[in-house]
């Protein structure tokens, strides 16, 4: 089994190196921490350095592969591993890019955030572990690997949310995240078992194969698909399995919130895309026939409900972080459009838009949460009022935050503008007026509440006179980089969009 990468004929597993790099980094972290004579006292800088480099490496490798055309039609074509249990194609690499970049940013920011905290090595290790899981999720091509990878990313996440053991909020958040997660993973696995019952296999293409003909046990299959959908909805923080999100994001350490709300969401979506478009296209009526189980409509409903619940709940929050948490739910709703507005010949358009939105979201949302991390670091409060007049103290950071928020709102100050408009355009293309309408309404509402933060930072006069003494360099760096990339993605949107749209259209065969 060999694969051709940029002219070199190498073993096919090489295509998985991005994920492997992440896994190895985690191992290295454990080794470094365990060879440290005095346990738990290894240098923060070293650990942060290693993990940042590792994440960056995965990001760069995936990016290079993407450019070289690995796993894409113009290159070698999709690379199957372990009899198609894993697959490396444009989509998987694209999502590894997202996961890698987000992880790198978070790791970089964590250096300052964890300053003085205990169990640093564990923290870095868990994050990289979860990242590895997400990287594998993006390649998972069988319900089995999906489940395993999903758990691999979930279990460390539970621990990470509850990382600040002496903080009630953190613990409560961890508990809720874990319980909801456990419930949904059991729903997922039960759904898988039912799909297996109906199709007799777990490998996605095989499932599609089996279901292409006439299916007995249709009811079972339907229940299974819906349960799988909801199991994935948990990962993407979509209604109705979103309940963990507001608490988890609010209670968790800010970098972890950033990591979960961006990377974990993206990984969830890649699973959703792959499973439903590889395994259940026929069933969903995408093959042209009458839908056996109309999951497209189900997703449409979920999309509308999700974006509405998320944005309306975010509209009048008191805490900025919780507002961001709800808005993250809302964005999950936007991205779901990629699986909903499929009533059109070129489905690659809208799915590609979803992928691009996730990419941009990876930077702007991560950046926003990292800014919260910055304010935590400074001990600024969490409510909107506490942000009043912050721009006088930290103009650069506030400018960055403004970029994030306006880009999230879909104004032309960052890539979010194009990606959101492209989602809207996708709905029009599919004639899904309901989706279009709710997207407009919600996006307008989101503009309202995002600008509340901007108003607080720039327009309101500062009430309490806090003094910012220190400017954490790495946290600042992470925020500024995120801001720069977010902005740069407006003019340079084209750097990644072609691969996204190609990958998307490939998935539709």
């Amino acid at each position: 089994m060999v694969v051709d990468i940029a002219g070199y004929r190498v073993a096919d597993w090489v295509a998985m190196t991005p994920a492997l790099v992440l896994g190895l980094t985690a191992m290295v972290l454990f080794i470094v921490d365990s060879i440290e004579p005095r346990p738990g006292s290894s240098s923060n800088a070293v650990l942060a350095g290693i993990s940042t480099v590792g994440a960056l490496g995965a990001f760069l490798l995936a990016g290079t592969f993407l450019v070289l055309g690995v796993g894409q039609p113009r290159g070698t074509g999709a690379v199957d591993l372990f009899n198609g249990q894993l697959v490396v194609d444009g989509m998987s690499l694209f999502f590894v890019v997202i996961v890698g970049s987000v992880t790198a940013l978070v790791m970089l920011a964590s250096y300052d955030y964890l300053d003085g905290e205990s169990y640093q090595a564990e923290y870095y290790g868990l994050v990289i572990m979860a990242a590895t899981g997400m990287a594998v999720m993006s390649s998972a091509n069988s319900l089995a690997t999906v489940f395993v990878a999903l758990e691999l990313s979930s279990l460390p996440s539970y621990a990470l949310v509850a990382f600040v053991k002496e903080n009630r909020g953190s613990v409560e958040a961890g508990l809720k995240y874990f319980l909801v997660g456990a419930l949904s993973s059991s729903v997922l696995v039960y759904g898988i078992s039912l799909v297996y019952a109906a199709s007799g296999s777990l490998q996605l293409n095989a499932v599609a194969e089996a279901l292409s003909g006439s299916v007995e046990l249709v009811g079972v299959l339907g229940i299974g698909i819906i349960m799988v959908l909801l199991g994935v909805a948990f990962k993407t923080a979509s209604v109705p399995f979103h309940f963990w999100a507001p608490e988890a994001y609010e209670g968790a350490p800010a970098p972890v919130s950033a990591f979960l709300s961006s990377a974990s969401k993206a990984a969830g979506f890649v699973v959703a895309f792959r499973v439903f478009l590889t395994a259940f296209p026929e069933v969903g009526g995408l093959g042209g026939g009458e839908p056996v189980v109309d999951w497209v409509t189900a997703v449409t409903v979920l999309a509308v409900v999700t974006m509405t619940v998320g944005n309306f709940a975010a509209a009048n929050q008191e805490k900025v972080k919780r507002m961001l948490a709800y808005s993250s739910v809302g964005h999950a709703g936007y991205v779901l459009i990629g699986l909903a507005a499929l009533n059109t010949p070129d489905r690659g358009l809208v799915l590609g838009a979803s992928m691009m939105h996730l990419l941009v979201y990876g930077f702007m949302n991560t950046g926003a949460f990292l800014f919260i991390a910055l304010t935590d670091y400074w001990g600024v409060g969490r409510t909107f009022q506490d942000f009043n007049g912050l721009s006088e103290q930290a103009p650069l950071a506030c400018a960055a935050m403004t970029v994030f928020l306006f880009s999230l709102a879909g104004l032309p100050i960052g890539g979010g503008f194009i990606s959101k408009l492209y989602l809207l355009l996708g709905t029009v293309n599919a004639g899904a007026w309901l989706l279009a309408a709710s997207l407009i309404v919600n996006s307008a509402l989101s503009l309202f509440y995002y600008s509340r933060v901007v108003k607080a930072m720039w327009i309101e006069d500062s009430a309490g006179e806090f003094e910012i003494d220190s400017y954490p360099s790495s946290l600042y760096a992470a925020v500024v980089i995120a801001a720069f990339v977010t902005f740069a993605l407006l003019p340079a949107f084209g750097l990644l969009s072609p691969s996204a749209f190609d990958a998307a259209s490939v998935l539709f065969g």
Partner: protein, 101 residues
Amino acid sequence: MAIESQYYLLLSAAIFCIGVYGILTRQNALLFLMSVELMLNAANINLVAFSFYHGNLTGQVFSLFTMALAAAEVAVGIGIVLVLYRNFEDIDVTKAATMRW
């Protein structure tokens, strides 16, 4: 002679529902965990049964994965329950409700 597959389905569905019932009614974190375990095992029943029905081993193998992961999940869960007890002097899941709306 083999038992009709839908009986397995009924059994697993019953167990799954019992699990759900437990989750809905129990406030004790550990009981909550156990209920989740029930639901997972309901899935395992399906997998094993239909692996036999379809005549391939995929399901049985996957059920092994599921058990392993369930164990890991419980491990993490217990850990979280511990810190929960430290912070709230209780393992009642409804007590931890400081964050809402």
